[in-house]
């Protein structure tokens, strides 16, 4: 079958080179900057490929098409599979496979589909945040690096068979160099995200089993260093419970062009969802949350005579419930609280939310302001 121009145009010579290398081909000769000759042995036969490296020659497309048809014959498998694998050569792969009665038709209803893609995003974001620095909870304000990483990740075209979502996370290829392999901390960020994802999935799975059997939260707390967070637990719970799946199998695999990541396979069944959700709730309830945005009404003002700072209590929403949050305001902010209280106007403030016993406290409050009128409408 002749490859269509569109799928050929999508091929990138360097990706192809990485693919060829991962399949036992070697570059035998370089024809300047324009092309290279690759050889491989299959059985007793030596195969040859002319790989164009530069898209300017007039016969570039013909040469690419030849490469694909040679691979088709050499590997004796369909072109679509080969093209898929070429695209995956320079990217780590995370595969989500959903099993359950609702997926037997190999399709999924829109509602479940939306939850799947939303939670896949949240899961990757949680791993990216943990790669920047593990924490029990990632606030709404995520590290820029983690958000930028998300824009590089791609969804592969859906494959036939059971319902599978394949995520490709491009990663630079390994360049051979003298000396010992790089320590993990020196790996590119993209790779650290995926390896964090792999360890945190295993960690979350371990913690869920231990926590369920011991009826304690501690196992989750112990896995924070491996990347487990409230965000990760919520995303995982969402993937199994809100997708309509009985089981979600997640496989993390390295890019063939960058070895060093052990393939991981973790399977979450729908019955762990409540455990994960509860773990997320406890994480959120107990953890210090940086950059927490509090909005609410001032319901109590306390300032001792002659004191410069005052304690203000705001009734605001924390984790979807109305909570009383105490904060200590400096002399310049305290009058704002008084004004808000007199006019019954809501206030807005940022700080680190922490639980002290049964009460919530917003530490280091900043940007304490009256919520603007127009936002009230």
């Amino acid at each position: 079958m002749k490859p269509d121009t569109e799928s050929l145009m999508a091929l990138r010579p360097l990706e192809l080179a990485a693919y060829l290398r991962s399949r036992g081909w070697h570059e035998a000769e370089r024809l300047g900057e324009r092309a290279s000759i690759w050889l491989a042995r299959r059985g007793g036969e030596e195969l040859e490929l002319l790989l164009p490296l530069d898209p300017t020659p007039g016969d570039y497309m013909s040469r690419l098409a030849e490469v694909v048809s040679t691979l088709e014959a050499a590997e004796a498998r369909p072109r679509s599979e080969i093209l898929d694998d070429i695209a995956a050569t320079t990217a780590d792969t995370v595969r989500f496979r959903f099993l359950g009665p609702t997926f037997e038709q190999h399709s999924v209803n829109v509602e479940h589909g939306v939850h799947i893609y939303e939670n896949v995003r949240e899961l990757l974001l949680a791993a990216a945040c943990a790669a920047v620095g593990p924490r029990p909870v990632f606030s709404t304000r995520k590290p820029t690096r983690a958000l930028e990483y998300l824009t590089t990740v791609q969804l592969a075209p859906p494959a036939r068979g059971s319902y599978v979502v394949t995520v490709r996370s491009p990663v630079p290829p390994t360049l051979a160099h003298q000396g010992a392999p790089l320590p993990e901390a020196d790996e590119p960020f993209e790779r650290r995200v995926i390896s964090t994802l792999a360890t945190s999935l295993a960690g979350a799975h371990r913690a869920a089993i231990r926590a369920a059997s011991g009826a304690t939260f501690q196992p989750f707390h112990d896995e924070v260093a491996s990347g487990v967070s409230a965000n990760l637990c919520e995303a995982l719970a969402g993937l199994v419970a809100r997708s309509g799946a009985r089981t979600c199998e997640i496989t993390v695999a390295e890019a063939p062009s960058r070895p060093g990541l052990e393939e991981r396979h973790v399977s979450f069944s729908a019955d762990v969802a409540p455990v994960l959700r509860e773990a997320a709730r406890v994480f959120r309830a107990s953890a210090l949350r940086e950059d927490f945005e509090l909005e609410g009404l001032v319901i109590r003002l306390e300032r001792g005579e002659g004191a410069t700072t005052g304690i203000v209590t705001v009734a605001g929403v924390v984790d979807s419930s109305l909570r009383k949050v105490r904060l200590e305001l400096e002399a310049n902010d305290y009058p704002t609280a008084i004004e808000a209280h007199l006019k019954a106007r809501p206030v807005r403030c940022e700080g680190e939310l922490v639980r002290e016993g049964r009460a919530h406290v917003l530490r280091h409050p900043r940007r304490f302001v009256l919520k603007s009128e127009e936002r009230e409408e």
Binding site: L47, L50, T70
Partner: protein, 165 residues
Amino acid sequence: MDINQRKEKFGEAYLRAVASVAGFTLYRPEVDDDSVDWGIAARGTEVLRRRPRVELQLKCTSADVLREDGLHFALGLRNYEQLRETNLLVPRILLVVRVPVEPGEWLSQSERELTLRHCAWWVSLRGLEPTPNTGTVTVVLPRLQVLSPGALHRMMERINRGEAP
């Protein structure tokens, strides 16, 4: 089969005969390309296209176009443009097979021999100047450049050394 198809098929048969005597393989291009009908590879199979290689545009004509210096062939502008391209990984040539007007005279055969009429010439248009023409460009295929098994061998050797066909 209409006369043009018959000419095309006869041209192919001619090319196949010469290539097989020379011990080369023919292959069809992978993507539709107006200016490449066939490729000739030195060794190998469909999969295994060993260097050296040449790709060609094959034409067959019964017009009275043979002159003192060579075959004067009116080539379509688009083909001309694609054949004069210099930046190619596999070189291209134009091959024209000249046949008698009457198909009955294209071939004669006895117990001793099979004769194909008349002859095929080749030319490389690589690096020729652009043309102001809008329809066709008359190109000359030199009389000395007959496509024989020996000539094909020598051409492949030149290509193998990185020279022009």
